[in-house]
C-alpha cells in the first residue's frame, strides 16, 4: 500500500464515518416520526363501543393483602450521587406495615369474556418527587394517557422496559411540562426506571378493563362496578410474584377476597 492509497483509504474512512453519523441521525428522526405516525393511527381508529353494564346490578370486591412471615428489612438507598435528591432512603420493593402489604396490584384477570370498556379520558399522573416515583405501582387502561411530571430540581429520564409495548427513553429537565404517554397493549408489572438515578424504579400495569386497584399502606384494595359473574382475581407483587383467586359475585353483592404472600424463597 503506497502513501497515496493510504490517504485515499483514510479519506474514504472519514467520509464513511460522517455518512454513518448522518444516517444514524436520520434513522432516529425517521423512527420517531414512524412511532408518532403509528400512535396517531392508533388514536385515529375508532374504539369499539363499550359493552353496557347495568349500574343497578354492579358488585364490589374488596379485601386486604397480608405478608405472612417476618418482613424483610427494606434495602437502603444512597442518593448522594445527586445533591438535588432529598427523598426517603428506603427502597419500596416490599413495603410491609404491621403485616399489611402495600403496592400489590389487584385486577380482574379473567371472567369478563368479550366485554369491551371505554378508555377513561382522564389521565393518570406519575410524579417524580424526591428522586422517587409516586406512586410506586400504577394501574392504567391500555390507551389511557399517563402524565409524567418532574417536581425535582434535577433532570430525570423515564425509561420503561416493556416486553409487549414500545420501549422509549426520554429525559425530563426540572420545571418542564408533563410528558404524555400511553401504552397500547396489556402488560402487567411493566418496569420503569431512571438511568440517571439507578435506585428509581416503579411498575406500570396496563390492563384492558377498569377493574383494578393497588393496595394502600394498610394492604387494602377495592374494585367497584363489577357486573355479576365469576372472575379470576390476580394479586401481583413485584418481588413475590402472582396469586390468583376465583370469586363469584351476584348483583349488588359486596365480597371480601383477602390474599397473603409468603417471603420469596432464595
Amino acid at each position: 500500500m503506497n502513501k497515496k492509497t493510504g490517504w485515499t483509504v483514510m479519506t474514504a474512512g472519514t467520509l464513511a464515518l460522517c455518512g454513518l453519523l448522518v444516517l444514524a441521525g436520520c434513522n432516529k428522526k425517521e423512527n420517531t416520526e414512524q412511532s408518532n405516525n403509528s400512535m396517531a393511527e392508533q388514536q385515529a381508529q375508532p374504539a369499539p363501543a363499550a359493552t353496557p353494564i347495568d349500574p343497578a346490578t354492579v358488585a364490589t370486591v374488596s379485601g386486604t393483602v397480608k405478608f405472612d412471615g417476618t418482613a424483610p428489612k427494606p434495602s437502603k438507598i444512597d442518593m448522594s450521587q445527586d445533591p438535588a435528591c432529598k427523598g426517603g432512603n428506603e427502597a419500596e420493593n416490599i413495603v410491609v406495615d404491621g403485616g399489611d402489604l402495600a403496592n400489590v396490584f389487584v385486577y380482574v384477570k379473567d371472567g369478563l369474556g368479550s366485554r369491551t370498556f371505554d378508555v377513561p379520558k382522564d389521565a393518570v399522573t406519575l410524579d417524580q418527587q424526591g428522586c422517587k416515583y409516586h406512586p410506586h405501582v400504577l394501574g392504567v387502561m391500555a390507551g389511557q394517557t399517563v402524565d409524567i411530571k418532574n417536581d425535582d430540581q434535577t433532570t430525570h429520564n423515564i425509561h420503561p422496559t416493556p416486553k409487549d409495548n414500545r420501549e422509549w427513553n426520554e429525559s425530563q429537565p426540572p420545571s418542564s411540562p408533563a410528558i404524555e404517554k400511553n401504552f397500547a397493549r396489556e402488560e402487567i408489572m411493566l418496569p420503569v426506571k431512571c438511568n440517571q438515578h439507578p435506585w428509581m424504579k416503579m411498575y406500570i400495569n396496563v390492563v384492558k378493563n377498569p377493574f383494578y386497584a393497588v393496595t394502600d399502606k394498610s394492604g387494602k384494595y377495592e374494585i367497584k362496578g363489577l357486573p355479576p359473574g365469576e372472575y379470576t382475581i390476580a394479586f401481583v407483587q413485584e418481588k413475590l410474584g402472582e396469586q390468583d383467586q376465583k370469586v363469584s359475585v351476584a348483583a349488588k353483592e359486596s365480597k371480601t377476597v383477602d390474599a397473603s404472600f409468603k417471603p420469596a424463597a432464595d
Binding site: G6, V9, D82, T155, N169, S171, P198
Partner: protein, 352 residues
C-alpha cells in the same frame, strides 16, 4: 533443516544474520533472506522515533482509562442516562450537569472522543514517519476499529442496550486496546533497535500455538463475561470457562518461563501474565460474591459491586493485552522449527 514457518526461503540462515539491528518486524526480517532464485530482497531501514513511540504509549494508556470509564458506566447501570447519540441532551459540545448516571456516561463519551482524536493523530503520524508498511496498515486498522467502536456505542444507546451490541462494544474496546498496545510495542526502541535472541521451538504444541490458544480462550471469556454483564446470558458459562482459561494460560506461562528463562522478552510478559491471571481469578470470585450472591436484591449498584466488577474488567483487559504481547514476543524470539521438505540435491547448498 529447520526454518521459520511460512518463510519462502529454503536456505537456513543463522539467527544473527536473520535478525540484524534495525530489523523492525516480519517484513524487515524477510528482507535479509534470499529468495529461491537467489536474489537478495531489498532491506528497509527502520529508525526509532521517540515522539511517535511515546504518543503510541499515551494512546494505549488513554485506551485503558477509557475501558475503566466504560466499565463504570455498565457497573453503575448508567448506559442510557444520556438518551441521545451522537449528541448529549441535544448538544454536541455542551457539557451537561455531571450528576447521577450522567457523570459516568458523559465522562465515558468525552474520554472516547479523546481516544478517537489521539488515534487519528497517531495514524497520520505513523503514515508520515513509519517505513514499515505492515505497521502503517496496523495504524489504519486502529483507526477503523475506533470508528467502528464509536458507531457500536451509538447503536447500543439508540436501541436501548441490546445485549449483542453492548457485548460487541465491550469486546471491540479490548481489541482496540490490544492494537494500541501492539503499536506501542512495535514502535519502541527495543523492538526497532535490539538484536533479538532467537531460539527455535521444536516442542509440540509449540509455545506460539499455546499463546494463540491463550488469546482465543481469553477472547471467548471476554465475550461470555460481556454477555453476562449486559444481561444476554447467565453467569455460569463465564464461570465454567474460567477454569479452561486458567488451565490454558497457566500452561502457556509455565512453558514460557521454564523453557525460555534466559529470553527476557518472553519471560517478563509470561510472569506478568501469570500474576494477572491469579489476580483476575481472585477479582472474578469477589465480583461473583458482590454482584451475583449478595447484590441481586440491591436497590442500586453498591460500591463493592462497582469496584470489584470494574477492577475485574480492567485486569481482564491488561491480561488480554499481556497475552498478545507474549504471543508477539514468542513469534519473534521463539519461532517454530519444522523440517522442510527440500530435495536431497538442494540440501547441501545451505547459505550457512
Amino acid at each position: 533443516m529447520y526454518s521459520r514457518r511460512g518463510r519462502r526461503t529454503n536456505c537456513r540462515l543463522p539467527p544473527s544474520v536473520r535478525s540484524e539491528p534495525n530489523s523492525g518486524g516480519p517484513a524487515d526480517e524477510a528482507t535479509h533472506s534470499r529468495d529461491p532464485r537467489g536474489a537478495i530482497l531489498k532491506a528497509i531501514a527502520t529508525t526509532y522515533h521517540r515522539g511517535h513511540h511515546r504518543f503510541a504509549v499515551v494512546l494505549a494508556c488513554w485506551t485503558f482509562l477509557l475501558i475503566i470509564a466504560g466499565a463504570l458506566v455498565t457497573s453503575n447501570d448508567a448506559g442510557l442516562s444520556v438518551p441521545d447519540w451522537p449528541t448529549s441532551f441535544g448538544s454536541l459540545y455542551k457539557i451537561p450537569r455531571l450528576v447521577g448516571g450522567v457523570e459516568f456516561e458523559h465522562t465515558h463519551r468525552m474520554i472516547a472522543q479523546g481516544a478517537g482524536l489521539l488515534t487519528i493523530i497517531l495514524t497520520v503520524w505513523t503514515w508520515r514517519v513509519e517505513k514499515r508498511r505492515w505497521l502503517r496498515v496496523l495504524a489504519l486498522a486502529a483507526l477503523g476499529t475506533v470508528i467502528a467502536q464509536g458507531i457500536l456505542g451509538g447503536i447500543t444507546v439508540l436501541y436501548y442496550l441490546p445485549p449483542a451490541v453492548s457485548s460487541a462494544h465491550a469486546a471491540l474496546a479490548q481489541t482496540f486496546f490490544c492494537i494500541a498496545v501492539a503499536i506501542a510495542l512495535f514502535t519502541g526502541r527495543k523492538w526497532v533497535e535490539e538484536q533479538p535472541r532467537v531460539e527455535f521451538d521444536s516442542r509440540k504444541p509449540s509455545l506460539f500455538t499455546l499463546t494463540l490458544l491463550s488469546i482465543f480462550v481469553l477472547y471467548v471469556q471476554l465475550i461470555l463475561g460481556a454477555m453476562f454483564r449486559h444481561h444476554g446470558m447467565s453467569w455460569w458459562p463465564h464461570v465454567v470457562h474460567a477454569v479452561i482459561v486458567a488451565f490454558v494460560l497457566a500452561w502457556t506461562a509455565v512453558r514460557a518461563i521454564t523453557a525460555y528463562p534466559h529470553i527476557e522478552a518472553v519471560r517478563r510478559p509470561a510472569i506478568l501474565m501469570l500474576s494477572l491471571l491469579i489476580t483476575q481469578l481472585c477479582l472474578g470470585f469477589t465480583a461473583f460474591l458482590t454482584r451475583v450472591a449478595w447484590g441481586k436484591d440491591a436497590a442500586q449498584p453498591e460500591l463493592p459491586m462497582v469496584v470489584s466488577t470494574v477492577a475485574h474488567v480492567a485486569v481482564g483487559a491488561l491480561l488480554l493485552a499481556t497475552t498478545v504481547i507474549l504471543a508477539i514476543e514468542v513469534w519473534r524470539h521463539v519461532p517454530v522449527a519444522f523440517e522442510e521438505r527440500v530435495p536431497q540435491t538442494q540440501r547441501n547448498a545451505t547459505a550457512a
